[in-house]
Symmetry: C2
Subunit: 399 residues, 2 copies
């Protein structure tokens, strides 16, 4: 049983955008009152129309909701795509009534790149979604279904936390299993809370949470044109003061934990994946250096295929760290795989290859720990292995 934050209604309907009959593909998230909104978006320079629009509207404290379609990314669609994204928010505002304005909606799209949105279907879908808005768990789950594409299942997370002065709730959903294209998923995530926040604080907390969660995951490393993470924060009453100081820090910690929980679900559901690979890098000069090293390991097809095969081929991991573009010195570097030491201070260690191989095969989770022995910087990334299913899925489809 999911406890919904107070003040929100949800819906998800089938508008016929996805080819599979009856699949939900239009979702609405609506706040009963104007709320704070923050957003973190793709840094790709080829950016989808809905991202351009939503980015221009966050952070703010007058937001009413988010309208989302799946099955079409509205990316690489030029000025017509921009008009269509704008029209989606106008349709949502009109359908939700209460004198809401189009500027009070964010918009997200996910699916095939380079095709214009089917606006007739979008129009009737948004109307139907507005009519079925509700504050129930089933309505929330409908809205989750409406943002999914190649996802094997729903990706949701929730947290309740107490701060002197109140009990608050965080509820999040995300989608994504591969990056882009026909039948592909781009990453979208929406988190709603009833904690009282100032817009600038909300934006800072969301960026910090993203840096430790959604910015630390990969499936194949192809950056999408549509990635969007938004936070809505509906203040319980106009009189409730916004969180500050240590309360705001606590909220930030809760938000980061929730985002990590959500974000890990994406590589865990990576297309074809049989392993979730968790990469801890310690001892870098800075957190940014550790992040670069973890990313380099996470994006190596040779590291990923070694894990697929249960192969304790640690040279692939160490060499991927070596080309991350940040300082690393072999004589200070140590590597463990599933807690078994393999390489220490520039020298290979004797190890039982069968034991390491068994430990990889025995668990969905593989843990890589690399200590580069230079400083206090650390980072954790999550990725998938790479197997023939991923390749088949992404190559055996023809437009």
């Amino acid at each position: 049983m999911i406890e919904l934050p107070k003040g929100y209604r949800f819906s998800g309907v089938s508008a016929g955008i996805k080819t599979r009959a009856g699949a939900k593909d239009v979702s609405l998230i609506f706040s009963d009152k104007p709320c704070v909104a923050a957003g973190v978006y793709t840094t790709n320079q080829i950016v989808a129309a809905p991202v351009v629009l939503s980015r221009s509207r966050t952070p703010c404290d007058t937001m009413r909701g988010v309208v989302i379609n799946s099955g079409n990314a509205n990316a690489c669609t030029g000025s017509r795509g921009q008009q269509d994204a704008d029209e989606m928010t106008r349709l949502a505002a009109n359908a939700c009534g209460e004198a809401t304005q189009s500027e009070q909606f964010l918009v997200m799209s996910t699916g095939v790149i380079g095709r214009f949105l089917p606006m007739e279907k979008i129009r009737s879908g948004i109307a139907a979604a507005a009519q079925s808005l509700g504050p129930s768990e089933s309505a929330f789950l409908d809205s989750v279904d409406g943002i999914m594409t190649t996802d094997a299942g729903r990706k949701i997370a929730s947290r309740n936390f107490q701060i002197p002065g109140g009990d608050y709730r965080l509820l999040g959903m995300c989608k994504g299993a591969g990056m882009i294209g026909p039948k592909m998923a781009t990453m979208l995530a929406i988190v709603v809370t009833d904690a009282p926040l100032d817009p600038v604080d909300a934006q800072r907390a969301l960026q910090a949470a993203a840096n430790r969660s959604f910015n630390c995951i990969s499936v194949e490393g192809h950056m999408s044109t549509n990635d969007s993470l938004v936070l809505l924060a509906a203040r319980p009453s106009p009189a409730t003061p916004a969180l500050q100081g240590s309360d705001l820090c606590n909220f930030g910690g809760e938000l980061t934990q929730l985002c990590i929980e959500l974000a890990k679900k994406i590589p865990d559901d990576g297309e074809g994946a049989t392993h979730l690979i968790e990469i801890h890098v310690r001892g870098a000069n800075t957190d940014a250096d550790a992040d670069a090293i973890a990313r380099s390991i996470a994006l190596s097809n040779l590291v990923k295929t070694a894990i697929t095969g249960g192969d304790p081929n640690w040279g692939r991991i160490v060499s991927a760290a070596g080309y991350a573009g940040v300082p690393i010195q072999p004589p200070r570097t140590a590597l463990k795989l599933n807690q078994i030491p393999l390489f220490d201070r520039g020298e290979p260690l004797p190890f039982d290859a069968k034991q390491v191989s068994s430990s990889i095969r025995a668990s969905k989770l593989t843990v890589i720990e690399l200590d580069v022995g230079l400083g206090p910087g650390n980072a954790t990334h999550w990725t998938t292995d790479l197997n023939t299913e991923y390749v088949r899925f992404n190559s055996e489809y023809t437009t």
Copy 2:
């Protein structure tokens, strides 16, 4: 029939380092007189012992030869690995006689990472290789066989060219099909010429050629610990002056063409590859920007799997360009796939998907042309597609 540059002898023998019985795994290239040597090496910070040693010995004008083993990369092997690399050059100098010194040899290794070299086998292999040195085509082909690992066939190229004052020859070999690890190949390339060169000019010409050839290819983008490209230039006689001015420019052009011809053979033989993908980027602000965009496209698994499947999924190409980290503006960008326009100035173009798909399926070579419309910068990269054979090859092996 290969025309050998004057002044060199070659050999390749089986020393039992590779597991397959009789496979050649120790090669020698020997210059009759001290010659000019230049080298370009991996920029990975995790660098194999032979690279450390060879890098310290180029450029110079006193080199006598190169000793190479395959089947073991002598990487991540600490101080013992460094001693072993040094010992290989000492063994080569002793075995080749003529009072050559160990410092007059370069050394290369390729194969599994993290294991110590079997020095007894290396010792007898080098002795046997020195005894079978010859200036014949068959001896040259033996030396090519001795550097191969997962390569499907020999990768060689030769050019003859005239410069006022002489006829000269360039002859090159390289190896590589995947990047590192057990049963994996790391990139090695050796080019020999009888053109007279100064060491500094040789080094500059080689770096320039590498930048347009070996630095523009990828299979999966995992940078090896062992990549080495060396050029030997044996002056016909002490009296022959080194090439200068336009003659040196002409030599540089010939060397670049030879290196491109050699380099393309690596992704063309990429593990499991069914397509060679040639990526032309034009209109970037600088050549370096064009290089970054071409590299980003070449390294995208989603681009690679689309080509595998004959899928005209151009959004994957454009979006990969968008996250290369250099300026690109959709309204100025245009894309062609096998000469068919798909995207122009930010808008999708109508096209016949079946026609594009057929053009991909009909040819081993797929050509991507991206014009970003900003400036004079251009670059060309070559990569493979990504198919289930690559994944199977790299995952279904266990140490």
